[in-house]
């Protein structure tokens, strides 16, 4: 993750949270990762969020093992990265308290597949810091992640992802 390629007004976090829900009515399949890295550059609108796949923690050890070995193949694809550009961000003013609804247009690179996405983001400014939250969904088949027949009733083909991060000035 190239922290030096961004301009001024850069905000970052190394402890962002990414969680996802991939379960059905039959079973909960939830995981969380509290070490996502995120950089937001309010001068250019560039945004980059990266997470280590192995860092997702499940309640059940077997589920975590299958997630890494069978679904995400984390040995081959250790990271998931979103790189994009914020749209309509010029009004975001970190020196005042405010809430801004913007969209990040970019590419999600996960499991060896790059897919264009438009993700709604809520930016909150307070005390010179910048918080970001985003909720979006991905289709597993779009990222070549297949669900074996025996567990088709337990794993949803649509996964809901939540990101939140409190960013400080670089």
């Amino acid at each position: 993750m190239a922290a030096t390629s961004f301009g001024q007004q850069r905000y970052f976090t190394k402890t962002g949270t990414i969680s996802f829900k991939a379960g059905t009515a039959v079973e909960d399949v939830d995981a969380i990762n509290n070490a996502a890295a995120s950089i937001i550059d309010l001068s250019s609108g560039q945004v980059e969020v990266a997470v280590l796949v192995r860092g997702f923690e499940f309640r059940r050890g077997l589920m975590q093992e299958h997630f890494n070995e069978n679904y995400m193949e984390s040995d081959k694809f250790p990271k998931a990265v979103f790189k994009g550009q914020l749209k309509d961000f010029s009004g975001v003013n970190v020196s005042t308290n405010g809430t801004y609804h913007v969209v990040a247009n970019g590419t999600l690179d996960m499991h060896g597949v790059k897919k264009e996405m438009a993700i709604p983001v809520v930016l909150t400014t307070s005390g010179g810091n910048l918080s970001a939250q985003a909720d979006f969904q991905v289709q597993l088949e779009d990222f070549n992640i297949s669900i074996p027949g025996p567990v088709k009733d337990k794993i949803s083909p649509t996964v809901t992802i939540h990101f939140s991060g409190d960013h400080t000035s670089m």
Partner: protein, 145 residues
């Protein structure tokens, strides 16, 4: 022993085996991920050494160390106790890269006496490198007074 009695005994044994196997299967299914605090480290090294390995060859180091238990020693440059999992950042000779350690929630009381500048040793599972090298499921092994 009559044939009927033998069959009943055999059926009982089968039922017991199925129940035990099923119970063991449910136990395995519900088992939590391994507690890293109970594991011996696969590697013991300084923050500088760990960061240097990743900077020299991130792919090879990730393959070698991701998922492994590491005991790392270094200087605290940041602490974040709020949130579900507290975290501590250890600094290296490279001002842009360090080690971010996220701890088990129960470790929070042990971290309340940690201050910036302190030398500490942390055991955790390495998951790779983003901006920093990242370690999860961490616990505090020792710290300076």
């Amino acid at each position: 022993m009559s044939k009927t009695t033998r069959m009943k005994k055999a059926l009982l044994i089968i039922v017991i085996l199925v129940v035990v196997a099923g119970g063991y299967g449910i136990y395995l299914f519900n088992m939590r991920p391994p507690d890293i605090r109970k594991k011996s480290p696969d590697y013991e090294l300084t923050v500088d050494s760990l960061v240097s390995k990743f900077e020299k060859d991130e792919d090879a180091t990730t393959k070698a160390m991701a998922g492994k238990v590491i005991l790392v020693s270094g200087k605290v440059v940041g602490i974040k106790l709020q949130g579900m999992e507290p975290s501590v950042m250890l600094g290296s000779a490279d001002p842009l890269v360090g080690v971010t350690c996220t701890f088990y929630p129960e470790e929070k009381p042990n971290l309340e006496s940690i201050t910036v500048g302190m030398m500490i040793r942390v055991k955790g599972k390495c998951t790779g490198k983003l901006i920093d090298v990242v370690m999860n499921n961490c616990s505090l092994a020792s710290h300076d007074q």
